[in-house]
Symmetry: C4
Subunit: 268 residues, 4 copies
Amino acid sequence: MKMHQWTLLVISAFLSILMGLAPAFAQTAPTSAGPVDPKLIEDLVAANRILAAEGILDGWGHVSVRHPKNPNRYLMSRNLAAELVTIADIMEYDLDSVPVDGRGRDLYSERFIHGEILKARPDVNAVIHTHAPPLIPFTVTKVALRPMYHRAAFVAQGIPVFEIREGFGMTDMLIRNQAHGQSLAKVLSDKPAALMRGHGAIVVAPSLPRLVGRSVFLVKNATLQQQALALGGPINYLDAEEARLIEAREGYGLGRAWEAWKRKVEIK
Amino acid sequence: MKMHQWTLLVISAFLSILMGLAPAFAQTAPTSAGPVDPKLIEDLVAANRILAAEGILDGWGHVSVRHPKNPNRYLMSRNLAAELVTIADIMEYDLDSVPVDGRGRDLYSERFIHGEILKARPDVNAVIHTHAPPLIPFTVTKVALRPMYHRAAFVAQGIPVFEIREGFGMTDMLIRNQAHGQSLAKVLSDKPAALMRGHGAIVVAPSLPRLVGRSVFLVKNATLQQQALALGGPINYLDAEEARLIEAREGYGLGRAWEAWKRKVEIK
Amino acid sequence: MKMHQWTLLVISAFLSILMGLAPAFAQTAPTSAGPVDPKLIEDLVAANRILAAEGILDGWGHVSVRHPKNPNRYLMSRNLAAELVTIADIMEYDLDSVPVDGRGRDLYSERFIHGEILKARPDVNAVIHTHAPPLIPFTVTKVALRPMYHRAAFVAQGIPVFEIREGFGMTDMLIRNQAHGQSLAKVLSDKPAALMRGHGAIVVAPSLPRLVGRSVFLVKNATLQQQALALGGPINYLDAEEARLIEAREGYGLGRAWEAWKRKVEIK
Amino acid sequence: MKMHQWTLLVISAFLSILMGLAPAFAQTAPTSAGPVDPKLIEDLVAANRILAAEGILDGWGHVSVRHPKNPNRYLMSRNLAAELVTIADIMEYDLDSVPVDGRGRDLYSERFIHGEILKARPDVNAVIHTHAPPLIPFTVTKVALRPMYHRAAFVAQGIPVFEIREGFGMTDMLIRNQAHGQSLAKVLSDKPAALMRGHGAIVVAPSLPRLVGRSVFLVKNATLQQQALALGGPINYLDAEEARLIEAREGYGLGRAWEAWKRKVEIK
């Protein structure tokens, strides 16, 4: 072994240690971005419960929101079924998905979805991971989701499909680490949602009400597209320009539905 | 420029000003047609809540009824999800969809649907705008709705499809003004309902109970027709004469169902 | 006009008067078969409410049971949506569907279904008329209902389709009189159920629990057959001998389900 | 008749008596394996109610768990619809499905499913028999269930179809005795579930939470596969190795869903 080989070995060993320690430090170290307006926490709890009531979050899915005071922090429940989430279950994480104040609480094993997407997408403030059944058939066939109606206009931007086999071969399908999360974020690119083959989907949005709306309408769009395809083509999908004009509407008219959705769930 | 050209210019300018002012006046000016039997208001609230419970009105749809004392006025909620509408939310509008007593309340942006249809159809006293999911596939394919069973006999009159692109090109799909509303009313013509491509539908009727019945059965008909088509043809649809005889029944037998529907919802 | 023509005219006029008077007498005249075990009335109310909860009776369907003391009388609600029926609403009818004690109460216009089937089928003690949606597609296509699974074994006996056009041409589709009812009973023949084209179905059984079971499983069978046909054939239906052995079981094992169904509804 | 024929006759008569008596003794005789942790009984009641709430246990299905202190005993409700089962209804059986303390209570006629599967499968501790509707179409067509998504990974092991005609010809389709149960257990082999033609399915698992999870996801998989097939192939099913890695996860991540499911049902 020559000298420069030794050098490389030492450097790479040193880097390995650093890389190994980094998460360790991170896991103990992230500082809080400070208290959050209780209304945002309430909205996050509401989003959990609305999406559970709508059949979009089952025992396993999760939803997060970016910390309003620090773009490098996000808020999400401890490991809990969405319908059971309360204000006390909301935790703060850094973008490596390390909790600020873990206190030994159990965490979502797929929390890296949230951290890595929030890293890659400064325009995004809210993220959901769902296994909504009507989406699954579109994750395993070659039929692309296309925009059926005005409420699902964002579908016109294209909904890519993430195939975990491409980067990682055979796995247990979960987004178990930052590398998985980064790969998913790369497939998502600048789109509003991505399907995950044989697994589910992620949806992103600039706000929680918008995220809930997108989630509900993405799932409805899948059902409607399935039905329209069964009726037989050709299908007159939304035009890209129609979709753009709809998405450009200020507020998108979601206030009214958000009010009705919140009224139906218990926030505590 | 000749004299008569000047004259034309002056006249058209004058007309433009009048047309411009008309809405302005209208927005401050329409007079009330006076108090309404509280039972009608209760029925309008009930219709909102029944149609929400039946999945026909979501966070955005709306339902109106013509004022019984003045055919140029109608009643409809302020901008609110149907399931949340109460007696206090009902407002009076003229047929240009200007509120009699706005008091700064937020209005449905698509209220012009109601005003313009009530203008064009003196036989109609109740109007709904819905995004009921089973209808959407029929708005984007070439399969026409046809009457599957006696409850949906009115479908035999023909359910046209409104394509907003034809009159207005690329839009955000909403019926945002009187011109949109008039165009929709023209496609509706003398029919009991019209689909709206990639958006939803409108249904009209001589009374609120009849409107609720038509809305429920239009949506069921869509689901049943989808299933029958999947079983394979030919389909033995209602005959036009059967449909005519059913529609001609006095009261249409709706009293019994209306009583049951109302019992299930809260009116306050 | 010759003498024998006059004779015919007089005879036919006399017969017309008799036929006209008969119902008039009947409507005032049938005597009660006497009080009924309150448990049977409770079961009839329960059947109404169970079938409404299962989506089989909507605002219009109805269910009857034969009077246990007199096979020429039956019990059924006054004109009321099934989910609203209470003990006080149950009335007694003769087999011409004339109420024993009308007291001006509104009656189901299609009550003749019950009277005429109970006349024609001494083995039947309970009858339902339903518009259950999953059945409708099978009433208008050429696909016959066939037995998908053990709970729907009775389907193996064959489910005929009643076409009102055959005997009566263009109508409003309702079973409005005894002639309609007799025609329907003839198509039903000795079968456990009959579909009605573009309208719904009737189901018959020796008891109320058996009727509720048959109604629930007929509707499930329709849904399952639709799905199996979509998966693609051939379909391995129940064998006629399997169906016979299942139907021959004493009590058919319905006690357990009847108990659970009753527990879920309110009887008052 | 020769001497050795007499001998055979006597031996066979003796054997017949023994075989006849065995069940008689068994029915009076099995000893209890002793009291069980109340938490397990609660979990069994919860499983009944969760599976009823999820539409997987109807008026007839049933669920059992192996006795933790004696692998030759199991626990299951008396003959009762799953949604009505309470702690007081749980009984102990031996693996011939004879109750330890019958006290004349009515038993599930198909209890032999549980005893025979628990005999044949020492790795199994919980068994369900279901008539969940989405499974039925897959029992009568030639389309095999295949794994659509990660939650249904166990489907990759293969879901055989039990055809009772093969061993027993024409029957009333029920698993009425040990021979039927053994035949079913043989078809199940080492798999996590088996469909039963024109009847339903059985699902097995090492624990109650795992059984509930498998039941829910087997049924969802059927619905999703039906939809994906309707969209058109090819379908990208889970790879066998992916399925193996998912199933190998410790705990399988079911705790969170089990907690939410239990919260929704009443245990008494």
